[in-house]
Symmetry: C2
Subunit: 268 residues, 2 copies
């Protein structure tokens, strides 16, 4: 239902709006209400979507590359829930919804994405930019540079290296943060701007690797490529990401909606 709900036709957008609201409501119910013991209300609100990953007092960390970074003010990165520290991308927009609709939950939200980074570079700064923050929920969007930088000759990684490093990063995260809840976001591109046929079919291999990692570690998986594939059926790719890689405001908001919907759904 999440995928069909993300199509862009008027009929299914109506469903999407309903589903997005359900996901948000599920987040409310699955966290604040169930923690208050309102099982009946929770059941009524969440239906089959089940409990949310984010609970009262949760520390939520967004990690990744430029799509997550989105021009954040790194001088303020230690200040949680700070508008400038969260950048202007999907992390800011998802945080805005979480903070506005869950005031009593006292959430603590950080963004530590850094432009240009590949998975091995997350590993290099993981102690400082993940473990030290003691997050309850870690959301990772990484991979587009792992392939992009090979296409432009600045990196010699492969999809096997990407998957190996990604698995090692999550192993380490679960070992050092017992009980952490992980979110693996699907790398995505839109066929416009810098994205041409040279990217395929290799790029699909990186997407598949991210999905295998999510399945292997039982994390929530956010299907960004699936969402954008549906979005371009009625609105051109450049509307969602001008250069094919970096989302516009519209693209970032669709990502935030998909992220909230997935994080409110049962882990797969």
């Amino acid at each position: 239902m999440g995928e069909s709900g993300l199509t862009n036709s008027p009929a299914t957008r109506r469903e999407f709006l309903g589903h997005a609201a359900t996901a948000t409501a599920a987040l409310t119910a699955g966290t604040l209400l169930s923690s208050a013991g309102c099982a009946r209300s929770t059941a009524r609100l969440t239906g089959r979507q089940g409990g949310g990953l984010i609970g009262p007092g949760s520390v939520v960390l967004f990690q990744g590359d430029s799509i997550t970074d989105a021009g954040r003010d790194r001088r303020r990165e230690d200040t949680a829930n700070d508008t400038r520290a969260l950048g202007t991308g999907y992390a800011l927009l998802a945080a805005a919804a979480l903070l506005a609709n869950h005031g009593e939950a006292k959430l603590t939200i950080y963004n530590r994405g850094i432009s240009g980074h590949k998975v091995f570079q997350l590993a290099e700064r993981w102690d400082k930019d993940c473990i030290a923050l003691k997050p309850d929920v870690v959301s990772i969007l990484i991979g587009v540079n792992d392939i992009w930088h090979t296409l432009d000759g600045h990196y010699d990684g492969t999809v096997e290296v990407y998957e190996r490093d990604y698995r090692a990063l999550l192993e380490r995260t679960k070992r050092e943060l017992p009980g952490v809840r992980l979110v693996v976001c699907e790398p995505f591109v839109l066929r416009c701007g810098a994205v041409n046929d040279k990217w395929f079919p290799e790029f699909d291999g990186y997407r598949a690797a991210a999905r295998r990692v999510a399945t292997a570690f039982g994390t929530v998986f956010v299907p960004f490529q699936t969402m954008f594939d549906e979005a371009v059926r009625t609105t051109p790719p450049a509307y969602w990401a001008g250069d094919g890689v970096h989302p516009t405001l519209a693209g970032a908001q669709r990502m935030a909606q998909a992220w909230l919907q997935a994080v409110a759904s049962p882990t797969t």
Copy 2:
């Protein structure tokens, strides 16, 4: 229902989430769907909320002071729908929802708020920052500086001057932009930070004046103060606006939700 829906208790938040979705769905239905002639679907989706103010191809302008400005990049202000040009406040967050959920509508959204401005300063730059953009929808949030700058001795205006200048601005806007749809936003403060007893009861007079102007010109009125008064019942004022005037990310998102809900409702 809008006001009760904006309370912050778990029970009413559940309603709020539903209502917010209804408002967004109403915006979809009242614009894209009704323009496509899907009267039945429109009726089912919008219920008593009726048609939206924003239609396919609409040019939407956000005007005001620092709360609207929100650190926007003025060098990019002529670029519509640009993340940096929209700032990081309620205008950005409302635009994100509009652009993400109405891709085919080809909306054009600008932010021309400027920090520190009072209503007479909007008038001084109205030809360039409003009329020249030929907006279909003009949303204005102005008034907090009209009183604040008198409290700190930098301005000698009164509530009568504020209302007179505000009415003159809307008269001029309707004369120069026949068919323009206006949105008057309620000035608001939260009792924390820079906001102390010196602000009252005078501040309530400015709020009342803004509401009189909205009624006199038949505009949509966005009840921001009412929304925040409900929000602080369960979450402290500083959570929504640290200095009592400038919203946090959570406060800005609540404003965007209230704005979308009001703009999707019938004009009053």
